[in-house]
């Protein structure tokens, strides 16, 4: 893909407000094609809110948002699903459907796009194998451990071969070893050219990732992690 005038993601002086509460304002950010970025910052700083702008879960209160070269304000409602299909999301709360198996949860985006089981079965199985859940394909989501659920959520986020992968605290509820495994999955995807943006305050994860780190605190974005946080780890 050629360089896009607005990068793969660009926030142009955006603001998010909930009623009276301004989470951030006048915030700008640009992510290049194929980059691997971690967004960190204290809880409640607005990381999830920022990511939601990018995966079209909410509109900005002010400013412009470009995703995959498109100004989101100019994307008609009836067209947005096409853009969403090119963005993989690992939601903060997993967003797995409890009545579905690991297999069906991963296959969900493909089914929603109208694919039939015979078309997607192999891809889904390969992906579950890749995330190390080959023997859990038929397990229902609630029977999986936190780490397993995270990996199902990651598999679901990438099954549609997205150009942009967004993950909100993907190592939030897993131990250090699982956190390392999940990081290696993201690094592998990054090598394959997927643009990745992860919200995390997992210090080990950040340090080992080799990713660009940006920090959101007090409504402002700064480059690089605070040295103090990295030392503490």
């Amino acid at each position: 893909m050629t360089a896009q005038p607005h990068g793969i993601v660009e926030l142009d002086r955006v603001a998010v407000r909930y009623g009276e509460q301004a989470v951030f304002a006048n915030l700008s950010l640009r992510l290049e094609q194929g980059s691997f970025t971690i967004l960190t910052g204290p809880s409640g700083a607005g990381k999830t809110s920022l990511l939601q702008l990018l995966y079209l879960a909410q509109p900005p209160s002010a400013g412009r948002v470009f995703v995959l070269g498109r100004d989101l304000a100019g994307v008609k409602r009836a067209e947005r699903h096409k853009l969403r299909r090119r963005i993989g999301v690992v939601f903060q709360e997993h967003g797995l459907l409890d009545h579905l198996s690991a297999f069906d949860n991963v296959a969900l985006p493909l089914r929603a796009a109208g694919q039939k089981p015979k078309d997607y079965a192999k891809d889904v199985l390969d992906l579950l194998t890749w995330v190390g859940l080959r023997d859990k394909v038929a397990a229902l989501a609630p029977s999986l451990s936190g780490g397993e659920r995270q990996r199902v959520a990651i598999a679901r986020a990438i099954v549609g071969k997205p150009n942009l992968l967004i993950a909100d605290e993907p190592t939030g509820n897993v131990d250090a070893e699982m956190s390392g495994r999940i990081l290696r999955l993201f690094q592998e995807l990054s090598r394959r050219g997927v643009t990745i943006l992860i919200a995390s305050h997992d210090v080990n994860f950040m340090r080992e990732s080799g990713a660009r780190i940006i920090r959101l605190a007090d409504g402002a974005l700064t480059e690089g992690p605070p040295a103090r946080a990295m030392e503490k780890a």
């Binding site: 879960a57 699903h81 459907l97 009545h99 198996s101 296959a107 089981p117 079965a121």
Partner: protein, 294 residues
């Protein structure tokens, strides 16, 4: 399909225990609506029975003059009235025959002051009134009486119409209440599935795809719950019909509660309606929910 892939489960669970109350509500409402519908049909039938045949005949008794030509003339004048399909002078032979049970064979005494009779066949809905008929006789200097059962025929017609009106009105009200409650219950049922709507929306499903999942599911739910209710109603009515002592001589008064094809056809509509309402509600509700999202 790869041999190791598990069978794909429906995106919406085939059975959701949380939908049991919705199923029960639709079933009960359908049951009530079917009973009301059957009652309305039966009341309508009873009302038809009351009025059938009673008001199609009007008898005019001519006392004076006895001149057959004048009477024939009068009959022709009646026959020309709108709403009168036939006006016939009853012959003496016929009269004797009619009176035989009272007067015995041998017929009428020659000098008995037997009035001449004109039998009118009228269309009960457009029949001329007794007053009109008397007015015509007066204009021709004829003295006579109209066997005026048209007054009470009119009353019976009115009463029958009221019975029908009330029965179908009640059915209408119940159907409307049932429809509202089904819609309300469907909304409540959908509220517990917001997670599915939300997730599918964010992973790139079209609104129509999401609405479709719910719409077909609720159509099925409405149809099956409605069918249960309808069958239950029909069974109850058959039970009533079977246990009621045979009452052929009272059928003209009591609503006949032995369901016929029309009843069964009407009852079959109830589940279809319940299914359609549930389906439409589901579609509209989901699309509304989605429209509030980006």
């Amino acid at each position: 399909m790869s041999k190791d892939a598990p069978k794909a489960l429906p995106i919406l669970p085939a059975k959701d225990g949380r939908e049991t109350p919705l199923f029960a509500v639709v079933m009960i409402l359908c049951f009530c609506a079917c009973l009301a519908g059957l009652a309305a049909l039966a009341a309508g039938r009873a009302a038809s029975l009351w009025t059938a045949g009673l008001s199609t005949g009007v008898t005019v008794r001519v006392i004076e003059p006895r001149d057959p030509a004048k009477i024939a003339d009068l009959a022709a004048a009646f026959g020309a009235l709108p709403g009168v399909t036939e006006a016939r002078v009853i012959s003496e032979a016929e009269l004797s025959e009619l009176l035989e049970p009272w007067l015995g064979a041998g017929g009428l005494p020659q000098d008995a002051p037997i009035p001449s009779l004109i039998a009118l066949e009228v269309d009960p809905s457009a029949s001329p009134s007794s007053a009109q008929l008397i007015e015509i006789m007066r204009a021709r200097d004829v003295r006579g009486e109209v066997d005026g059962h048209d007054r009470w025929a009119q009353e019976v017609l009115t009463a029958a119409g009221q019975v029908r009106g009330v029965a179908f009105g009640a059915l209408g009200v119940l159907a409307f209440a049932a429809a509202s409650v089904v819609a309300f219950a469907a909304r409540a049922g959908l509220a517990i599935r917001r997670d599915v709507v939300e997730t599918l929306h964010l992973i790139g499903a079209r609104d129509g795809f999401i609405a479709g999942l719910f719409q077909w599911r609720y159509l099925r739910l409405g149809l099956s719950a409605g069918a249960f209710g309808a069958v239950l109603a029909l069974a109850s009515v058959f039970l009533i019909a079977a246990t009621r002592p045979s009452a052929a001589d009272r059928d003209w008064l009591l609503p006949s509660f032995s369901p016929d094809l029309l009843d069964i056809a009407a009852i079959a509509c109830a589940p279809l309606l319940a299914g359609a309402i549930a389906m439409l509600t589901a579609r509209v509700t989901v699309l509304q929910q989605l429209r509030r999202k980006l």
